[in-house]
Symmetry: C2
Subunit: 657 residues, 2 copies
Amino acid sequence: KNVHLLRERQKTTFDIEKLTQFIYSDYFEVDARRKLSRQAYDHPIHDTHLPLEYLDSNDYYETLVRKSIIATDEAEKLGISDSKHLMWYLGAFTEERVAFSLHLRMFVPTIVMMATDEQYQQYLELAKKFKIIGTYCQTELGHGSDLRRLETIAVFEHSSDSFIIDTPTITATKFWPGYLGRTANYVILMAQLYTNGKNCGLQPFLVQIRDFNTHEPLPGIEVGEISGRLAHEAGDNGYLRLTNVRIPRNQMLMRLANVDRNGNFTRLGDSRLVYATMLTMRVSLCAYNAILLARATTIAIRYSAVRYQGQNDKGNEMQILDYPLQQDKLFPCLATSYAFICSFSRLNQIYENVMASKPDEILQQLPDIHSLSAGLKAMTSSISERMSQICRLSCGGHGYLISSGLVGIRLILDAGCTYEGDNSVLLQQTAKYLLKMYQQCENGEELISPTVAYLKETATIFSPISNISNLEYYCKIFELRARRLIKDMYTKLLEIAASTSQSPYETFLENSIELVHIARCHMETFIIRSFYDKIKVTSDSSVQNILNQLFELFAVYTLLQNQTYDFVKFTILSADTIELLKKRYQQLCTKIRPNAVGLVDAFDFHDKELNSVLGQYDGDVYEALLERARLNPSNKTKIHPAWNNNLLSLMKERSKL
Amino acid sequence: KNVHLLRERQKTTFDIEKLTQFIYSDYFEVDARRKLSRQAYDHPIHDTHLPLEYLDSNDYYETLVRKSIIATDEAEKLGISDSKHLMWYLGAFTEERVAFSLHLRMFVPTIVMMATDEQYQQYLELAKKFKIIGTYCQTELGHGSDLRRLETIAVFEHSSDSFIIDTPTITATKFWPGYLGRTANYVILMAQLYTNGKNCGLQPFLVQIRDFNTHEPLPGIEVGEISGRLAHEAGDNGYLRLTNVRIPRNQMLMRLANVDRNGNFTRLGDSRLVYATMLTMRVSLCAYNAILLARATTIAIRYSAVRYQGQNDKGNEMQILDYPLQQDKLFPCLATSYAFICSFSRLNQIYENVMASKPDEILQQLPDIHSLSAGLKAMTSSISERMSQICRLSCGGHGYLISSGLVGIRLILDAGCTYEGDNSVLLQQTAKYLLKMYQQCENGEELISPTVAYLKETATIFSPISNISNLEYYCKIFELRARRLIKDMYTKLLEIAASTSQSPYETFLENSIELVHIARCHMETFIIRSFYDKIKVTSDSSVQNILNQLFELFAVYTLLQNQTYDFVKFTILSADTIELLKKRYQQLCTKIRPNAVGLVDAFDFHDKELNSVLGQYDGDVYEALLERARLNPSNKTKIHPAWNNNLLSLMKERSKL
Ligand SMILES: Cc1cc2nc3c(=O)[nH]c(=O)nc-3n(C[C@H](O)[C@H](O)[C@H](O)COP(=O)(O)OP(=O)(O)OC[C@H]3O[C@@H](n4cnc5c(N)ncnc54)[C@H](O)[C@@H]3O)c2cc1C
Ligand SMILES: Cc1cc2nc3c(=O)[nH]c(=O)nc-3n(C[C@H](O)[C@H](O)[C@H](O)COP(=O)(O)OP(=O)(O)OC[C@H]3O[C@@H](n4cnc5c(N)ncnc54)[C@H](O)[C@@H]3O)c2cc1C
C-alpha cells in the first residue's frame, strides 16, 4: 500500500527471488523454511493473546510454554522430523522463545554424543516425547569461562553404587541455565567427578530435578528463577542447588569416560569431546547472529525509505534513506549481513565435513573447527550487536520502542557476546591456534586447513590503485595484513622467549590485547574470503552486479573502520589509496541506494518473523505505531487505577500543604 | 567485609576524599549532595516494596508516582528549595524515576522563560504546588528532528478570542512525551500558530488535558501510553490527540510573540529562544551522561576486583582486573568518566556565564553555547552508551542481569542518543558552526569563543617523541588535527562553490559524513582541553599524579581509537610514535591498576545510587546475587501456577501421543 516502498521496489535492478535463492542455498532451504514458518504462523492460537510486550510476566511465561507444547504436537502431526526443520517450525511458532530450545539444542545432542548405547535407549525416547524436558547446567555463580574450576561435585559412593551430588558453596550454585528455573524436569549437570578419593575432572550427569507428575522439585533440590534479564524473561534462566542428591551410577554419561562398579575410572575418548555440544551451538549461533543482523537491517532500511525528515534546498522533504549519513549507518549493516550469511555457510560446510569424518580425523580437525567457530561466533555477535544498535539509532525515537523489534534483537545479540563463551576468551583461543599454525608454517610443516593457507603465501606487494576494481585484491590485502601481524607477533614472542626468563603464559598475557586484535584480523580474512568465494559463482549477471557492490562496500568499510592504520603501517596501502577508498565508499553507497529495499526484501523475512511496526512489508508505519500504542493494556481505562485508588487523594492532600 | 576490595583500597596511593572534593568542585557540591541523598534513602517507604525489577507494570507505576508525590512533600518539609537540590533529592528518592522530572526540567523552565509576567503569576504557583503536573509535548509521530514540519495546529478564532487546537492527521499525533500517558494534567504544546489565515510558526501553548478533580481526560483529548520501552516504563511516555480543543487566547505563552485581541501577530523576541529549554536540558544531560558512565565503571571495576577467573602458570586463580584485556576494557571507561565530568563542568561554567549576561549578549553567544552543548551531548551520550556496554560485557553473564545495574544504565544512555536531539543531527549543527567560525577566522575577524580559539593558531609541527611526557602536547595535537581537518574541508567547500553550480545545501549534504567526523574531532579538543585545564590546578601532589595518568590514558586511548589515521595522514605523528604510544598505553594501564578501585570509590556513589549486586561497596557479590534471585516473586511457589493450571495436563496428554 505504501507508495514509497512500492517506488523503491520498482527501482530494484535485479530479481529479488533469484538473490534469495542464491544467498540461502546450502543450509537455509528457502522453500522448506517458507512453508514451515507459514504453517506455524497460521495456527489460530496466535490470535488469542496481545503482543508479548503487553503480557505480565506470568501470562508471558504461560503463553510461551503452552505454545511450545502445542507446537511440538503440531509438528508431530505435520510429520516434521528433521531437527533443523523442527527448530524452524518451533521457533516460528513461539517468536523464537521455545521452551524446548535447550532441550533440543543442548540436552538431546549431549545424550546423542555422550551417552552409551544403553543410556541412549533409555533416555532418548523419553526426551523425544518431551516427557523429559531437559536443560544444560554448566555455569555456576563463581565460574563460567573457566570450567576446570567448577565446584559442583559428584562423589562415587561404593556402598550404594551411586553418585552423591552436592553444591558445597554459594559460588557452586548453578546459575543461568535456560529453562531451568520453572520448566525443566531433567538436567545435564556438569560436575567434578570424585571416585576412590580422586578428582577425575568434569563429567556430565543426568539428574532429574522435578517430579514428572507433580512438577515439584525433588528432595535435596532448590531450584528457581534468577533475577531479571530484559528480553530473556521467557528463557526462564534458573539457579540450582543440590544437597547430597543421590543418583544411580548409570546416570553419568559414560561414552567418553567410565566409572565401574568398583569406582575405577577409565577414559574412553578424548576429553575435549565433553565440550562438543558447545561447538555445535557456536556454529549455529553464527547463523542466528547473521539472521538477527539481517532482520535489524531490514527493519531500519524499510523504515528509512518511508520516513521523511528535514527539508532540502528545493523545499521538499527528504526521504531519510537519501542522507549520506543514514546510508553510512545502514549500508555497512546490509553488506555485513550478506557477508555473515556467506561466512556461516562456509563454516557450516567445514563443520559438516568434519562431523562426517572418521573419529580420529574428527579429533585431528577439532582445533581448526574449534578456533574457527569460536572466532566467528565472537565476530558475528559483537559486530551484529554494535550494528543492530546503529539500526535502532537510525530509526530515531521510534526505534527505541519494543515494537520496533530492534531493541529485542540487540538484547539477544548482546547476550550472544557472553553465552557459549565470552568473546574475549574465545578470541584468545583463536589467537593461540594461529600462533601454532604459523609455527607449523615456519617449520615447513603442511597446514591442513585451507582457512589458514594464506599464512604460507609470500607475496608482499601489490600495485594498489589499479587493482581496486579487482575484487580478489581485497581478500589479498586483508590476508597480507593478517599475515604480517601474525609474523611480527610470532617473531616478537620468539625474541622474548630467547632473551628473557618470562614464562610463555606471561608473554601471552602481556601481549593479549594485540593477540586478540590479530585473531580478529584473521577472522576478517575468513569472512571476506567466504563472501568472495560465494559471490564468484553467481550465475545471474544482475544479481552478480549488486553482490559485487555489496562485497566491495563490505571490504572498504571494514578496512576504513578502525584498522586503516595497520594497512598504512605495513605500507600495504598508501595515504593516497586510503583517500581514494573513502571516495569509493561514498560512490558505492550511491550505487547501492536504489537497490537497498530490494536487498533487504531478498532476506525474505515474513512480517511475523520481523514482528516490527517499523519494518513491515507494506510500510504503513504510522498506522501501525498508533494502533500498537492504543493496544497497550494500560490504555484500557481512561484513568490508571492507581489514580483512583489513592494517588488522586494523595495529590489533593499534597496541594493543600 | 570482602577481603579483595579491602586489599585494593589499601593499595590506593592518594587520598580518595580529596579527589572526590576536587573533581566535584563547582557544580556538584559533594557535601550537599551526600546529605540530600542520604536523607532520601533513609525514608521508610523504600522498605515497603520489592526491587523495582520485580514489580508488575501497574505496581511499578503506582509505586513510583506515589514515591514522587511523597518526595515532594518531604522536600518541602526539609526546606529544599534550590532547583538543583530538589532534583537530586527527588532523584535519589525515586531511583531517578521521578514522575515530575519533565514538569521540573521542561514545563516550569519553559514557563519561566516564555510566559508573560501575568502568565507567570497565574501558573507558577500552581506548578510549584504540583497541582499542575506538566510535561513538554513537542515530538509527533511524523516529526521529531525537523520541528518546522510539526503538524499540530492552533488556529486563532476571533469570535471566541481563543485558539482551536487540533491534530489533523495521524502523523500529527504527539508521541513520546514523558509522563504524558497517565500522569500529566497539563502540557506545553508546541503547535503551528495560524492567525488571520497566516502561519506564524511554532509557538508554545498551555493546554490542560485532565481534570484536576477526577483526573479524567478533558473533552476532545485522547491521551494514552505508547507501546513498550524497556527501562522507560516508569517514564510513562504518552501520545496525545486533540480534536478541536478550545483554549483562551492567553494560554499561548506570549513573552516572545504576541497575538492580540484582533489576531495580530507580533514577534517580541528572537524566535530561536523558543528552544531555550532544550539548551538547558542538553547541558544537564552532559552531567547525567558523565555520571552514568562513572556509575557503570564503578560497578565493573569493583566486580572485576572481586571476580577471579582463569588460572595462571603458577596455578593461582587470576583476579580478572589483572588481565590486560580487562584493563583495556575498563580503564578507558574510567579515564573517560573523569574527562566527561571535567568537560561538563567547563560547559556549565560557559552556560552560566551566558545566562547571566544581558539579553543581547545572550543572543550573541547563543550559537556558541548551542553548538557546544549539542556537540557535547552527542559525544557524551554515544561514547557512554558504547562504554557502558563494554562494562556490561566485562562482567560476563552476571553483567546481563538487571540487578547488575549495567543494563539499565546502558538503556538510558541509548535513549539519550536520541532525545533532546538525534546525535547525527546535532553534530551537523556543530559542524556548521565550525565552518562559520573558520570563515570568520580567515576573514581576520575576531573569534569570541575561547573554545574555537585554536582555529587561529599557526604552529603545525611538533617534535613528538620528546614531548610525550608533556601533557599539554596532547591538547595541541588534537587541536592541530581538528584545525587541519576543518581547514581542508573549508578549502574543499570553497573550491566546489567556485567550480560547480552545486547549492551550498547539496555540498554540505555530500560532505556530511566527513563534516560529522570533523565535529567530533572538534569536540575532542574541547573535552581534552577541559580535562587538562582542570587537572592543571590540582594542589595535592598524589592526586595530581594519578589524574595526570588518567589524562594521558584518555588522550592516548582516544588517539589510538579509530582516528590514528588522521594523525598519520597529516604527519602529526609518525608510525614510530604511534607504536610508542601503544606501548605507553599499556604502561599507563599498569600504572593505574593499583589505584583502580580507589579511583571509582572517589566517584562517591552511595550503594543505593548504584543499585547493583555487582558494584556494592563491600564486594559481597555472590551472596547478593543469590539473595536477589531468591527474592524473585516467581520463586514464591515451588511450582509456577501455570503448571498447576494447565501446563501439566497439557504435557501429560502430549506424552501420550
Ligand atoms: C542469557 C544467558 C543465557 C545463558 N544460558 C546458559 C545455559 O543455558 N547454561 C549454562 O550453563 N550457562 C548459561 N549462561 C552462562 C554463560 O555461559 C556464561 O555467562 C559465559 O560462559 C561467561 O562466563 P562468566 O559469566 O563466568 O564470565 P567471566 O568468565 O566471569 O568473565 C568476566 C570477564 O572476565 C574476562 N575474562 C575471563 N577469563 C579471562 C581470561 N582468561 N583472559 C582475559 N579475560 C578473561 C572476560 O572477558 C569478561 O570480561 C548463560 C548466560 C547468559 C547471559
Ligand atoms: C525515551 C524517549 C523519551 C522522549 N521524551 C520526549 C518528550 O518528553 N517530549 C518530546 O516532545 N519528545 C520526546 N522524545 C522524542 C525525541 O525528542 C525524538 O525522538 C528525537 O527528537 C528524534 O527525532 P525522531 O525520533 O523524529 O528521529 P528522526 O528525525 O526521524 O531520525 C531518524 C533518522 O533520520 C536521521 N536524520 C533525521 N534528520 C536528518 C538530517 N537532517 N540529516 C541526516 N540525518 C537525519 C537521524 O539521524 C536518524 O538516523 C523522546 C524520545 C525517547 C526515545
